[in-house]
Symmetry: C2
Subunit: 496 residues, 2 copies
């Protein structure tokens, strides 16, 4: 066994960092699911202290030397990948002064807090000052990180969520989609049948929960290592040995909660499938935001919204609510209701076809903001113009326009592209999986997710961050991300 | 405002420590209530890392100088108390080498793990080796801390839970009780009426929970700042802004779960009533284990087992289970069932009269073990002899003898006395409160806890660790802890 003391030293430090990160994940889960309101201020202090201690560990002055020394030690491929990811973490953390980190953190809190009241009041003017300050600091951070990483400023922000992603590549992918979607959308809306009302509620919450648990089990969620709870917004959190997902319930609409469960289960399966040997190390983590989203969407959009699976689901759902035999509970009715395409102003309510349009608009705007080609004052006008151009809809106010998403107001510039990269990646992975295993779709139509899950374990989950996003995709599907597969999927699903 | 830079520096460091401690409290709560089994190993790593980081903060080489400098700064009374408590924390942490802390921590884990299987198997021999090693390290720690604190070794262990307590004082109090209890017990058991069966179940868990929540509300538990959950063993945890208590449910016996809720609510009210100005500082913490136990017992034993309150509770409980008007649901029947005194082998099943006997036995044994007057090999014999002497019962095996409690096997030497100090303190505080407010007992008999709670806020909760245990008690009741009050309470309750 070759000796690699610098690497081993780093290994211990990053293990400690992971323990802090895991503790923070559980605290965050607790904040959103369990914590009584009165605990909020104390919780914020706990989180701030744990984050500060993690930042101190990661920017310890010994790290740079250890990273440099470890580069010359004899390491195997996984260790080398681990070292690469360690360096990435370190560059992102250490390139910023603690003054800038703190100022940015304060600006995020300030903008987000104002946004919480500005959004319901549709009062963009109220939040434009705090957002302006936040953007100024974001530009400063982008410039510094860009320098440190040797990439353009916006790419440096992107790199926080999508390591290695470049705006030039996304530009090409999104231009392809932006050229395709408007015409496709017109065709779909022209051809789709008149809407049929789905079965009416009320659907008791306990029964919705039981149905969700049953579906999670079918998908292979291991309850020995995870939980399902309720929160205001569905999310996936926890750790790879303790994956916690949530949903919310609406007594009038069980499909929404159920689809939330299926989506978050996809996220959880990724976490639960990460390589056990690399727990607590950067190489053992999920690859990126976009890859994570691909795993939720491959379950929700590719597998569970397939015609075959919906036909399988329909009688199970009818039985779950004691409605077996009633009209409207057949697979075709449910599927038609689920496949309804209709342009809307709000991203989170968007269907599979129009969702990318919302993302493309946000991507264009945030890139322009970060690059100094647009100012905060121009945001509402640019947003509304983009909505008219891309979806033919004019937001009546900023609540239904540029105030709808929390991301920018919380400092999340560079995050949005991941949603659509995820949708495209999901289509491409699913396409490869069903080519590799011709029985995979029939299995899903029987409620058997094992073939898909096993394929993903091998080609995505078990690889952690061993390879880059592009390399994972090329190894799994034979090519880099290609909009053609996603477009093909949409055509097949909505026009055939 | 006088300037006190060293004190201010310490203030920031101890705030950070408190954030870590609060995070650990929530993680511990999660481990016992929410965590899926598969998360255990990762959770242990999270907790170990957070504890190690807290230890590093507390033993930072700058602390000693800061403490010494701050002694000469101009501080007000609260600040001075805070500084005193900081130094206490520091002495306990810094007197031990990290080698010893780690060896002790490993020995605790090892002994506790073996105990978990040795107890059900009644196999003391299996655990005597690990306990021997743990005792060896405990003696080493006691000697070192005793030196650092200038007290006897056992007193140094006691000081971890009961700052300032000395075995000499406890010896006197417990000798008083040990002289009184056997004769009193004989008198009570001779005079008590034949047992009457309490109302039979099943008592649905949801209704038990609803009744528990109703009683918590009556006692003044603020659900804006706390929760009630379920766990294997009832406990109270969380933080002063987020007090979390648990109970367990038995469908055959609602009183056990309910009494657990009332007991833990007493603990939570102490936490919720701690001085807000001193959040996150040592002076703002609860005073000691014994004082904490006094707050649970003043609610459970003094207030809620009073004849008046039980008469108030009976019809509420009957209604909660849809049993109003059935026989056996009157206050007298319930009260007689609750007041039943009967010597038993197991501490956690003991009644109010025999409980102190269990504690006195453990106190005598652990003191002898720590002082080197007894060895682990002698433990079963000493235990069984003590049970015969004090309660007239001979344990048939070690499962019902010296293996029953987790404390020693988890390293908790010096903890046991707090249970009975708490019971005595509860009696003395309650006695003072009802003398101060003659309407207090009638209020409780109406389900109105406000007078008691308000008195405790002023005389105990709001003081945090501003004063010593003895000083809090003298200010509140006019005298130091005195077994006479507890004996008087028992006489009044069981012989009048």
């Amino acid at each position: 066994m070759p000796s690699h003391p610098a690497y081993d030293d780093l290994y211990g430090r990053f293990a400690r960092l992971a323990h802090l990160g895991d503790a923070l994940a559980i605290l965050d889960w607790d904040t959103q699911t369990m914590m009584p309101e009165g605990g909020a201020a104390a919780r914020a202090a706990q989180v701030a202290t744990l984050r500060a201690m993690a930042h101190e560990l990661l920017t310890d002055r010994a790290i740079k030397g250890l990273l440099d020394t470890a580069e010359n030690e004899t390491l195997d491929d996984w260790q080398r990948a681990n070292l690469r990811e360690m360096r990435r973490d370190w560059v992102h953390a250490a390139s910023l002064s603690s003054r800038l980190v703190e100022a940015h953190s304060r600006a995020c809190s300030a903008a987000e807090q104002v946004w919480r009241t500005a959004r319901p009041a549709a009062d963009f003017a109220a939040v434009s000052g705090p957002l302006d300050e936040l953007l100024r600091l974001t530009r400063e951070i982008a410039a510094i990180k860009g320098q440190a990483l040797g990439v353009a400023p916006y790419d440096a922000l992107l790199d926080q969520y999508e390591p290695g992603a470049r705006a030039a590549d996304i530009d090409a992918l999104f231009a392809d989609l932006a050229g395709f979607l408007p015409g496709f959308l017109a065709e779909v809306t022209a051809r789709q049948p008149a809407p049929v009302a789905p079965p009416a509620g009320p659907f008791p919450i306990e029964r919705q929960r039981a149905l969700g648990l049953k579906m999670m089990e079918a998908m292979g969620f291991d309850f020995h290592c995870g939980r399902l709870d309720t929160s205001r917004h569905p999310f996936s959190s926890g750790t790879p040995d303790d994956a916690r997902i949530t949903t919310r319930y609406d007594e009038a609409d069980f499909m929404r909660s159920l689809m939330g469960v299926l989506h978050e289960t996809g996220h959880a399966l990724y976490e639960l499938g990460l390589p056990k040997k690399w727990r607590g190390q950067p190489a053992g983590r999920a690859r990126s935001t976009g890859m994570h989203e691909s795993q939720s969407l491959i379950m929700e959009m590719q597998a569970c919204r397939s015609r075959g699976f919906v036909a399988h689901l329909a009688p199970i759902a009818a039985a779950a609510f004691g409605r077996a035999g009633e009209s409207g509970w057949d697979g075709e009715t449910l599927w038609n209701a689920m496949m309804r395409v209709r342009p809307s102003l709000i991203r989170v309510d968007a269907d599979e076809v129009t969702y990318p349009v919302h993302v493309i608009l946000r991507y264009r705007i945030e890139k322009a903001l970060v690059n100094g080609e647009m100012e905060v004052a121009d945001l509402p006008r640019a947003w509304n113009a983009g909505m008219v151009e891309l979806l033919g809809l004019a937001p009546p106010d900023d609540r239904q326009g540029c105030l709808q998403d929390i991301h920018w107001y919380g400092g999340g510039f560079g995050y949005f592209p991941g949603y659509t990269l995820g949708a495209m990646t999901a289509a491409q992975l699913f396409d490869a999986a069903r080519r590799a295993d011709p029985g995979l779709e029939t299995a899903i139509a029987r409620g058997d997710f094992a073939p898909l899950r096993n394929w993903l374990r091998i080609h995505v989950h078990g690889l952690g961050s061993r390879y880059s996003f592009d390399e994972i995709l090329r190894r799994a599907t034979g090519r880099s991300l290609d909009a053609a597969v996603f477009k093909g999927h949409l055509r097949r699903r909505y026009l055939s």
